[in-house]
Amino acid sequence: MSNVILLGVVGLVGGTLGSMVGLGGGIFIIPVLTLFLNVPIHAAVAASLIAVVATSTGGCITYVRECLANLRLAVTMETMLALGAMTGGLVGVMLDTQTLSAVFGSVMVAVSVYMGTRGRVVDPAQVVGPAPGPFGACYYDRSLDRVVEYRVRRLPLGLFLGLVAGNISGMLGVGGGFITVPALRLGMGLPMRVAVATSSLMLGVTACAGALVHLARGTVDPVVTVPVVLGVTVGALVGSRLASRVKSSVLATVLAVVLFAFAVQMILAAVGIKL
């Protein structure tokens, strides 16, 4: 029973932190489950993928209603994301625990570096004016109190990065938001709020493709998955309310340090060194 409560708390913290910094939460949930609660990594990956679907669904209730997510771009990129997630899911269930832990640890190092430095990345110039093309869109920005129009650039690059993000998502059980958010923002020139909302919307389908492989193959452990998913659902709602009260750059830096420590620990565990 105490383990079930702990699993729920892990989901709650993962969902809260994930929704506050624009990630699915899997990047936090998997190392905690495997390193501290001795959950086998394949069960942790399956639980995390389903949790990402819950985070995405909960977050997008607001994003879609507030008209922030670009629906046409999201569904176009989902073709590559879902394809990548499906192949990643199939590869992931075939990898042994050590290899999967080592790959996950390496990806976590990249994520922690991204999170630690993203505050210093210079945003591309805001595109204001007519929004041509099939993906051109606009949204109402509360802070600016006006409608912001934007256009989508470099779609092929976005589709390629979507395939990569989907593959990592399906294989490792993370959302892939650490790739899709910068891809949409820096690569395709979307405003930050639109990038986070569109990425969040896409991650639901991405994680769904990977999770369906796990559910169909019977690698989902309900005793682990249900408390994590319920915790994540509450966490996503709490995080979306807290996000405006906490300085996101501070949160991202703290999370980057924690993730880096987890990453080192996972890589060492993969080669047989326990700290």
């Binding site: 209730i61 879609v64 629906l71 997630a85 606009c138 389908v205 169909a216 309900p222 998955t225 249900v226």
Partner: protein, 121 residues
């Protein structure tokens, strides 16, 4: 002034509908999982198993096992983004945006293939 995107009111209505769809899907999934967890905690209808798959669903539901509610909750949760893509497909069809209808169909085909390959493996 507040708009979904450059195409205006149609997409605002679509956004509201999609938001409602996601909310309902998430609520049903959570309620089913909570019901399964409560049944499992009270020890009703047998012990909880640690590995489960889609193939277990009909039997578990027929015998009202906690596992049946939990798998159904997971299926509803995973079906929610799929339902969102189906809703977008219908929306684009209504707008006669056949290109995006085709894209939605590809996404649905890949998701169906995921289940097929998972069950086959």
């Amino acid at each position: 002034m507040r708009r979904t995107d450059i195409r205006g009111a149609t997409d605002i209505r679509a956004g509201r509908f999609l938001s409602w769809l996601l909310l309902v899907g998430l609520l049903i999934a959570v309620l089913l999982m909570v019901a399964g967890a409560v049944l499992a905690a009270t020890g009703a209808n047998g012990p909880m198993v640690r590995e489960t798959s889609l193939a277990d669903l009909p039997h578990a539901l027929a015998s009202l096992q906690p596992l049946g509610f939990i798998i159904l909750g997971l299926v509803v949760l995973l079906a929610t983004p799929v339902a969102r893509v189906v809703a977008l497909l219908l929306m684009f069809a209504r707008q006669r945006s056949w290109w995006f209808c085709g894209i939605c169909s590809v996404v649905l085909a890949v998701l169906a293939l995921s289940v097929f390959l998972g069950l086959r493996g």
